[in-house]
């Protein structure tokens, strides 16, 4: 069988149903094989878009996302998506064409050392040197991408090798890699110590991250938090892993987190980190982070434990397996729950005195406040859409105000912070979950970076809804220039171009515009009801700032809240 056809057979054996990509010279054999393959290929308009679509697909569904690109520029266009998938631990397989074997190393046409270029941010990569490796490497790639701490795996296939004829037998044994054995169960002795520490904590807090979602451990987390009245805060990547509407939830923590969440971390005597990695956007100034807390750190990746913040009780394992054991051990201790009364009094006090806040005076009619826009989006979607996001203020406001109650409903670029992530990842999410509402909340600075994918939405009939929070700025950069650089605005004004409605129409999508808060929700509902892709250009208050905020380099307790009463209107 032709090696390119065995590639398709192996993908099919891995349960692949949808893939994203663009053909080119070096992957012509692959695309020829694609004609007969029994899965859907979504022809994106730029390889970066294909990469992010594969990420959105994986994050919405939990299945491995797959993207194809040709050699050279096709492959290098994938690089941002690969780095993004690494930072956010997204299970993805990227398959690139490479120039013919005899041309490798000669600077041949469209040759790029994509394996070398991506070494720092792949979980693993394979350069095919013998066509018989192709099926084997596909299975290894899927195994690596989807187990342990998930991540991107690259498979680089020279053109001549994918044309070769090989014997093919479907693989039946599970993949065995001698250097790769993730620990999933969690050491039971450590879990017992953790349970006892929890029983002795007066000011505990659960700090949960994307690992909870990757592990599909939301139920298990709710059980554990419910085994006593444990307060829960979540990272940006973890939102939806614990219901935002749950009474134990304090909101997101970190640079734009809530007052209660950040102060709870600051005053806590015990932090239980679950699938979170103490990123600098969480800790603020590291030396002053959580000065009173002992740390239980549960993570599938041993290298995350004590990387940034030392763990007193490290537990390496899969949250789905560890959390039920911890719940059982904790319940067996039958601890007196009243010891948490004082802590909850403090937490409730913070929540009441320092809620998320913005000036709501124009909400009934008039200028659209960005925060109002997110609340309107929540109402219009009944809080139950898959929301993908670009990167910037709109992303933070969505994280603060949308209130995600379920996992895999919030898809954004957290670690790498890739502007232009929203639209292509929405395509991926919609392809993975065609029966769900998929909305991309976009910023005008971000959306233009991958706007070509509107063509994909139309041509491939992927009816995503883009809600554009248009303030005519790269708003987050503007906010930093305003607050920390003496308001010396430098290259952040996006002006009035393009005309987004006409642009949407030029792509063959529906374009809408909203300039009055009173109409916004209605227009969102109309956009959602429209049978096809829509871009809704919502003109929002131009210089609204995203608060609260921990100024860069500061401790969490030094966070700044929105100025009350004196807000720019």
């Amino acid at each position: 069988m032709r090696a390119a056809d065995t590639l398709m057979e192996s993908l099919k054996a891995e349960g692949v149903k949808d893939v994203f990509g663009i053909p080119g010279g070096a992957n012509l054999p692959t695309y020829d094989a694609m004609v007969d393959a029994e899965f859907r290929h979504v022809q994106v308009r730029h390889e970066q878009g294909g990469g992010h679509a594969a990420e959105g697909y994986a994050q919405a569904s939990g299945r491995v996302g797959v993207a194809f690109a040709t050699s050279g520029p096709g492959a290098t266009n994938l690089v941002t998506a690969i780095a993004d998938a690494m930072m956010d631990s997204v299970p993805t397989v990227f398959i690139t064409g490479q120039v013919r074997t005899e041309l490798i190393g000669t600077d041949g046409f469209q040759e790029a050392d994509i394996l070398g270029a991506t070494l720092p941010f792949v979980k693993h990569s394979f350069a095919v040197t013998d066509p018989r490796q192709i099926p084997e490497y596909v299975h290894e790639a899927f195994h690596l991408a989807s187990t342990g701490r998930p991540g991107p795996v690259l498979l680089d296939i020279p053109m001549d090798l994918s044309r070769a004829d090989i014997d093919y037998q479907p693989r039946t044994e599970p993949v065995e890699l001698p250097g790769y054995k993730p620990s999933t169960e969690g050491n039971i002795k450590q879990i017992r110590i953790a349970a006892k520490a929890l029983a002795n904590a007066r000011r505990p807090i659960f700090y949960t991250g994307g690992g909870v979602i990757n592990a599909n451990a939301s139920e298990e987390l709710r059980e554990l938090a419910g085994s006593d009245r444990f307060p829960v805060t979540s990272t940006l990547m973890g939102l939806g892993g614990f219901p935002a509407s749950h009474e134990n939830f304090l909101g997101m923590l970190g640079m734009h987190g809530t007052y209660a969440a950040n102060h709870a971390m600051d005053k806590a005597d015990l932090i239980v980190a679950i699938g979170a990695r103490f990123d600098d956007r969480i800790t603020g100034k590291l030396e002053e982070f959580a000065p009173h807390a002992k740390v239980i750190h549960i993570d599938i990746d041993p290298a995350e434990i004590s990387k940034n913040v030392g763990a007193h009780i490290p537990i390496v394992g899969d949250a789905k397996q560890v959390l039920p054991k911890l719940t059982r051990e904790y319940r067996a201790l039958q601890t007196d729950t009243s010891r948490l009364d004082e802590w909850w009094n403090t937490l409730r006090g913070w929540q009441q005195e320092h809620p998320l806040f913005y000036d709501e005076s124009s909400d009934q009619s008039g200028e659209i406040k960005p925060q109002f826009m997110i609340r309107a989006m929540h109402r219009a979607t009944q809080g139950d859409a898959i929301i993908t996001s670009d990167v910037g203020q709109h992303q933070m406001w969505t994280a603060q105000y949308y209130g995600f109650d379920k996992p895999r409903r919030w898809i954004n670029s957290g670690g790498l912070g890739t502007m232009g992530f929203g639209l292509p990842s929405a395509i991926g999410a919609k392809v993975a979950c065609p029966d769900e509402q998929v909305v991309c909340i976009a910023g005008d600075g971000s959306l233009i970076m991958n706007i070509q994918e509107m063509a994909t939405c139309v041509a491939e009939d992927v009816p995503v809804k883009v809600f554009l929070m248009n303030n005519g700025y790269m708003g987050m950069v503007r906010q930093w220039q305003e607050l920390f650089w003496d308001r010396r605005y430098s290259s952040v004004d996006m002006g009035t171009s393009p005309d987004w409605v006409k642009l949407a129409e030029a792509f063959g999508a529906k374009g809408m515009r909203c300039e009055d808060a009173a109409d916004l929700e209605e227009q969102m509902v109309a956009a959602l009801e429209h049978d096809g892709p829509v871009l809704l250009d919502a003109r929002v208050a131009r210089e609204e700032n995203c608060y609260p905020m921990i100024p860069p380099g500061n401790a969490a307790r030094d966070m700044v809240e929105a100025p009350r009463g004196s807000q720019v209107s």
């Binding site: 520490a197 029983a199 007196d336």
Partner: protein, 181 residues
Amino acid sequence: MEAGTPQVVKLEDLHMPGQLTGRKHILSIQVENKPGVLARVAGLFSRRGFNIDTLAVGPTDDPSVSRITLTLDGAVHPIDQVTKQLHKLVNVLKIRDMAPEETVAREMALFKVSSAVENRAEIIQFAEIFRAKIVDVARRTMTIEVTGSADKIEAFERMVRPHGLVEMVRTGEIAIGRGHD
């Protein structure tokens, strides 16, 4: 604690071991003998800001496995974090942080020393004391092979440097665990 409450772990009793050991570490890393493995290891070190003091790579008794021996300063780097990051590389099979008292470590160095007639005898004498071998003699220089611990090689260097050290090459340390009876 009230009666009947099971034994609990007091938070104030929880401690964290220090991360820096303050001594030199020799890591013996077995890797799959596959293309690009060294690039992955080297790339990891540069990306994470770990400084390698010495590095030696070679085959092992198993042709499918190579060994990378590297030395690192445990006063600067949390060795635990280094080994955990290395373990994440799929081609890394096994890592041993060699305990000094359980390890035989050797390095080889070649010294090209200027050897005018008047100091030639002294250099030969140094070589004998250090059980080094003279492997090349020319009219103005001598080349000496020294094998031993890094300390011994550095001591030899101090001895010959005043005579004019033209060039020096070192292999980096390799190490093997001591046998047990």
